[in-house]
Symmetry: D3
Subunit: 331 residues, 6 copies
């Protein structure tokens, strides 16, 4: 059973020996300046990534058969190099299937997926628009889709980049969107929430999350917007009485949810629900990026008297954790 | 008492004579192609503006003493010219003070200003942060400020461009921001709501709304962001124990509320509350612009089968009124 | 039978009476400055548009029943006003179905549509890739699609804005693309030409061309890129053995053909065929816009010593007709 | 007393031992690839920065108590690594207060600060506008302000990034602005020069220059434009008769001095003096950046036949030192 | 002799008859709504332009032989229409050569051209660099060039758009540049002033100023930068010993004087002199645009309490005349 | 004779000793972390570049006299470090002139330069426009020009960055342009092809290719567009009867061939031939960049299941090799 996590290692003394289970994200042959071969390895688990070195690849305690994508049991110790942690691996072998739980090996949501899913379903249940309710049920009735929806990250490396991240993001959005819908009488709540549930569903095909998170070739060429509209299209074909205009609006919301052409939406939001979807999607992603950055500063032990580093997904801004900074003010 | 409004005239027969009270927004001497002098006048009331012509300026029934800014009683009839309505004025005189109510003569909020103000005050009352509560009360304790806050439009011609528009916009924002604050634990609710109440308070000095809505020269040179920070500054000087950092954050929210340098904010939002303030401000303005455009189409009798005209404040997009279009679908 | 065209009228003497058949593009009630009602009408035929006035709408020779979209027989004469031609209509009635040919009443291609279509089909015939050949035949086998493909304009008002313009543009592109494919060994000719044939096929649903050219509401909300991918999708579902990757590439070409996100393509060209498709599409549109502008100058009698007016679709540039200007040089 | 400067070390032989006084800008624990701990240190003095390594941190000759911000006496030698100089530190201890002069330890202006200050004061003395003269004297009468004004750098790392840089930049601007004012009768000289003196005064609060140059948190959140307007505001409150419009114009000049919204000015220059201020400020900064780059090439021994490297603050351009290049031309 | 100018007419009573000499800038046949032919004419003189109408083109007092480009003597009176002045022409004939002075008929500099030219020449005289002195003398020795240099406007409609405007702009620049050169030791004064004199010399071929100001076709296709470099090139060919590098730098200054690629400079300024040239050129043009706008407001009788209209060449900004506004403040 | 190329070394075993002839692109003194001096060298040949280290610079087998620009014979072996190949040099001496062929030492076109040149000349021969034929012959008659034209690369590091690259690019363009000219009757073929041949001729002066490829100082200051127009200018001066307008158009094509101001063209294409030149130039450069990237992936052994890396000259896009990916699809 996995009991040591990469995030724990920061506090380990240099040289202290430990065993751990990790996913191999990269394995490369290299040579030292003195022409000695060694292995450069990147290990991952749900708490992060770790650079590792196997300085004696021919030692019999170093298995030959582990590869990118293997789960391994590794023994060694950490050192610090240029502020980064590095593991020196003394022993390594492929782990047995019953020695680990896959969810421990990739970053994944800290929420209960079943509970999130239940929240999604009861939101659909609450719809008064029978057509939209049926559309969503039809799409999610496909077990491959609903399983992928529960597993997929929301992005490769920006916001919600962890297993279950897509679902977590959508459920958060459902709450925000529902609150906003209650405020503006102009909005058709069920249509808005349908847009929330479907806007990123194409990410289940755009991304792969077997070994780390990456784009598929098809995903790079077509994108999650295209996949999403295809999935709606296919479901509507099975629902003969589905109103044409409603279909048009649902697809419009998927097309327009990035809000700007230059962000990859081929259409700008032209209905109130599409406008709100774009706003809350953007807001939720940015709030999550802020929270993630503040957590990172916390873990790195930054003081309340420092701003964060520059955050790429927030236009390279530095941020300030309001509550912490205010709390630290001398009274 | 005013009983005929500009918005009513669209349905009047050409030539039908009527009396009405209007605000004079423009008065110009002109000459016809045949060298005959006439007056070109623009009249306004709370429902809109109307072009008018006085073809016989020397007729004794045409008063000499009305000017831009006068309220007049005018008699005449309408005709249509190039799709626009035009009034032919046969008689006109300056109205007596007790003949009209100023609120009828400029567009003004359809909400009850006293109720909106009450909502603002009870929101402040609900604060747990005593410093922020005191700051807001100090600022609003100045009767000139609070009166202007109740009267000011939120803009010259974009969203909420009517008397009371600023207050209406802020109260709507308070509701949305409160809902969003309840969803994200990262947010300091009282700080966010303080930002909502103060972000546009400088508009009370940037705009004038005596005769139509316009920018003051000082407003054009300095802008409402500068005025807003001055007002906070002045209030804080009266509150000796006010925490320095809290003052910094409140001013930061005012500086950053436009969200982008190119929109006139000298700083980007760097705290969660400033980010949310920018989002809800932008969203509320756009939702209001949509609602205004849909109302306009309704008044102009556009069918459900047409999109709106291009809306400048929404990147010149055309819009579609979802509910109306869906409702019109043949089943 | 129509024998007088709008383009002929420029040379008519003012006041000369004539009869003609026209499509009514607009009909509005208006009032003169002296309060007299009249009709403001826009008439069209395949050579252009003409402003018209009915000064005596109650004359019994003026039919009451003609509307926007009617084809009418009108009698009257032209005058020039502010450099523009205007028709004074003395008589008008709705035309009988056998009095006119619809193709005379809207601008349409000067090429033989049947010949263009034949060229398209023989290009498909020449494919060596059986899957792509079958895909195209499947799509064009739907008579509604192939009829619309022969009729549709390529745009509302930019390049090829006439009946048959889409087909004319595609056939021109096929020739250019075939020439370019012969030069670069990297290119898969059949894939490139498939992209040419399908890239704008969604315009058959994005545009309407019953009365003038306009966007449908669905077209505005979804766009021809979305319609095009739906049409390919639907056809591929009928072709069980169609290779997945080929389907991906065909859809990628449709998505990417505008070449830039800000031009409404949700994906940039990432394969050589998509890159070339974007280039030749853009080039052909611009060459046609140049030719159209030069023709217009010719018709307006501009001399060789003048540049054209500013052309919107060419970044508002002025252009020069090389051959004409060189030919006019004194030797 | 400091007698060896970082700029001297470039010409030292590798291995030659020397003693020097330096400011510690960074101190980090690290580990070699062979797991041996060492210290990574950055030392600074007024001529530049120097990477240093303490390979034996436990040697008794290495003091334990020096930290970031300490001034130390260090003994060791230099080597070259990847074209960069690196110091190997054999001994180090905290320096005694009377062993060094702080001005030697950070880059500082090569001009005489007292003389620059005198020039600033006599410019104010020359004003004919009594209000502006009084305003400036009031602001500079605060010893904290005038001391900071004499010390502050003009920027963290772009132009004039050294102690006294702000004052040096302002005095250079005063000269240029005075010359320009003499040429254009439109300009109010005293107003222009007031803008020059106050435009960057907020940098005394935006930047800190205790240990290296950095932004304060307040500076990052509010910026020197906001601080500058606050300082004017506070001074004007003490001057009851100060004309309102003059106050508006002075603040406008501060707000607008960056010349573009996207450079962080919330207002564009709308008066001639603000326009000229923006021009000369930008020109002086760029001329100084050029001069700095040419000096750097000179120090690095670049030949006249080479352009400079790319200069970030000049749009990443390469530059050419005209006089040097012309002088080197063979005749 | 011309004694009535267009700028005088604003104060004329409607209907008062006068005679005047004008340049015909446009002459068009038109028809009234009642089908009566009339002439639409635009007349110009050095103070502006004037719309005119000939309502009776067949009256024998209306000459048949005047055309665009003719100078005419016209009799008539003015009226006001939609705030614009319009002349009703009762008599008109082509003027005799000795009746007018061409300089009265197009806007031209208010400075003495001979004095400006003298200033240019004495600046050249002051050079210490013999090569540059010779280069300039060689170029200006061509009488066609020097005559055109004295006559040309600096632009078609932006800054200095009047006869002699180019020379006026250059002489103003020489003064400013000389002042700036005295301040920055980095600058080669003679090289900078050479750049000032030559940067716009290509405008003598880019623009035509026979009848109004316009671009030539060659000017539109090639631009004044290209013409300028050709002129330098041709002169250098006549000067065998002219240093290659000096030639390169002079041409570089011409190429780079617009300062940005998107303003049509194919190269950015890479030497100090080119940087300064771009700055002072831009500054002088903007100062002149400000002065022109303030004059216009003065002529139109705008009060000190109003900002100017939006000025296109200053990013559509509104401006404020500092001195006037300050002077108007109540004390 | 050179028989081992840098591209071969990827497959060499580490430590295997070999001899080779290389061009020295860089030579630097450096020090190891343990203060030992060594040489850092970059070697090049026509297949690429190679980092090399001389760990024993004082070994007598290491010549002292080789420098940047020398051709050397070196003995040593390769190792891999951080995925990059590095050569350890044991012996090195300057090569004798008859030991190598310069064409082997820099990347150069894989086409036969004589054949390409022949193709260029026969295209000129095919012209019907005698003036253009004569112009081109006059320019190419200068042996310095025609030799440089055959040798020059088309760029420093983007497309066609190899000896003969300019000619190869132009000949490819001639073919494409000729095909396009045959399709559009609007085009003057000879003028278009003249533009193709001359558009980049200034690169023969903008770039140097003695030791690696670089910009000359004159090239950086003036650019190939300026050089190209000078060369045309000089040739036309020798051709007294050359039509002025033709000269204008040829120069316009050179000025406008980058297609946008921000790409360094001072004029936009305003004639059909300039538009087509810009299109085919851009297309050919991008097709070549794609082919180069695909070749690189092939050499690096990337599988068909991967996209390429990001390609800078194609907006940092990743690309897919259509034919390879389709071929790899499982059937």
């Amino acid at each position: 059973m996995k009991d040591i996590y990469i995030s724990d290692l920061a506090s380990f003394d240099e040289g202290k020996v430990f065993d751990g289970y990790f996913l191999v994200l990269l394995k490369q042959q290299r040579t030292t300046k003195t022409n000695k071969p060694y292995l450069n390895v990147i290990l991952g688990d749900k708490t992060g990534q770790l650079e590792a070195r196997v300085w004696e690849p021919n030692d019999p305690r170093i298995a030959k058969d582990f590869e990118k994508g293997s789960v391994v049991k590794a023994r060694g110790s950490v050192s610090r190099f240029d502020e980064r942690l590095q593991m020196k691996v003394d022993q390594v072998r492929v782990a047995l299937p019953d020695e680990f739980d896959k969810m421990d090996l990739m970053p994944s949501t800290q929420y209960d997926v079943a509970a999130l899913w239940q929240q999604l379903e009861s939101t659909i249940e609450s719809f008064t628009n029978a057509d939209l309710k049926l559309l969503l049920r039809t799409i999610l009735a496909d077990p491959a889709v609903s399983e992928a929806y529960r597993e997929a990250p929301a992005a490769r490396q920006l916001h919600h980049a962890w297993l279950g991240g897509l679902l977590e993001h959508v459920v958060s959005l459902l709450e925000v969107a529902d609150r906003v819908a209650a405020h503006y009488p102009l909005l058709d709540r069920d249509l808005l929430l349908t847009g929330v549930i479907l806007h990123d569903i194409g990410k289940t095909r755009e991304l792969s999350w077997e070994i780390g998170f990456d784009y598929t070739i098809e995903g790079t060429l077509l994108g999650h917007i295209q996949f999403g509209t295809e999935m709606v299209d296919k479901a509507v074909e099975q629902l003969p009485g589905f109103p044409d205009r409603l279909r048009t609006l649902v697809i419009h919301m998927i097309l327009a949810h990035h809000g700007k052409l230059e962000f990859g939406s081929p259409k700008l939001p032209m209905i109130p629900e599409a406008l709100v979807l774009n706003f809350v999607d953007d807001l939720d992603a940015k709030m999550q990026a802020m929270a993630t950055e503040f957590d990172k500063c916390e873990r790195e032990g930054k003081s309340a008297e420092e701003m964060t580093g520059r955050v790429w997904s927030l236009d390279n801004r530095q941020l300030l954790n309001t509550k912490k900074w205010l709390g630290a003010e001398k009274v």
